[in-house]
Amino acid sequence: MSKLKVDQLEEVTGGANVTVSAGSDLIVDDNLYVVGYITGSGHISGSSSSTGSFGRVETGNLTVGGSQGSDGEVLTSTGTGVAWEAAGGGVDGIVSTASATAMTIDSNNNIRLGGAAAGNENFSWDSVNVLSFGADYNWGGGAVWAYAQTMFDPHFNISENVYFNGMYDAYIDTNYASLYRQQQGTHTFKVAGSGTADNAISWTTALEIKNDGRGLSQFTAKAWAYFDGTGTPSFHDSYNCSTITDHTVGTYSINFTNNLGSADYAAVASAGYTQDGPYGPAKKDAVTNLDGDSTAALCKMLVNRQDGSQSSIVDDDNISLIVFGD
């Protein structure tokens, strides 16, 4: 095998070539300066291997370390060499024409749409993951966030003018606040009067929908029943009612499945009966809350039949009851 030592080559003038025959090597002990191009169908290698251990570009894909990639593959280091892998990352489909910061992902893995947070509304606590909207309160302080901390029940929230400061819910700005929370299978809608920025929020629960389907608020019925008080009393249908107690003729108690918060509630009942009687039109009325008979656990009622000046307590088969209260 013949070799050409470059330090013996003084100058190759224009138009001339340095030719290394097949089976021979050009060995450069120091640096090789190329002013023009390296062209041809051979390769540059660091060994005598026919494939080379550096890189080469053929008419197809790039080859590095003897390994040729396929269309679309990317080159990665394996620690002991290189490998070609399919391009990953899932970034296709994200197109941005923003002229300023449009999305920030902070060190707590929280995401803000609309630029960096202007104040505490960035929810920067490890126990909270948040997607918030707008760089400042001019956007309303809207956020979607989840809370998880050992020893406490996790919950998911959608809120306005609220941030969690690590201890409690606080106002972002001096204004009203509202929040919708899902926790342990319940839905809770909370509202708060106007408060000072960064102060704790004192919530009022406007509506709670329990996991058993009950809707608790001042504007939803706490219980209702439609029942037959004749024969063996029985429910036609009911809500939050566990049993009927048949006390005597025409006197019943509806026992609530879940007690009300107070015995001071409004109960309205009716009996579906009217007809012409011997003393004129006769009808039945259902009466509730007699002399404090009702409690937070039950509503007691009686059915009265009025026929002219005659009245008596009687059974009825179409008795309705609706209860509103705490």
């Binding site: 024969g231 063996t232 029985s234 429910f235 009927i244 107690t245 006390h247 005597t248």
Partner: protein, 98 residues
């Protein structure tokens, strides 16, 4: 099935469950009725569970409760059930739970 017991005035009361509530309970039919008795009649009341036909309401205001062989006494619900049925507050539960 139903529960019967004597009211303070001596007249028999009968307690009939709603099908919806009954469907939420576990255990045998008798276990469900015992749970209902503990929930809906005053604690310490002697009662019986019966499937006797009481649909004829003749002389209803004169019905009397007579103890049978299977008389039971209503008891307090567990703390968990008292909380579940809103008989006690969370604070009362926390104060009494061991």
């Amino acid at each position: 099935m139903k529960i019967i017991y004597a009211q303070a005035n001596g007249i028999l009361a009968q307690v009939v469950p709603s099908p919806k509530f009954l469907a939420t309970l576990g255990g045998t039919e008798e276990e469900k009725m015992i749970h209902i008795a503990n929930k809906d009649i005053p604690t310490g009341t002697k009662y019986e569970i019966t499937d006797a036909d009481l649909s004829d309401r003749s002389f209803r205001n004169a019905w009397e409760y007579v103890a049978g062989d299977n008389e039971k006494t209503s008891e307090d619900l567990s703390l968990d059930d008292q909380l579940k049925y809103n008989h006690i507050t969370q604070e009362e539960y926390d104060a009494n739970a061991g």
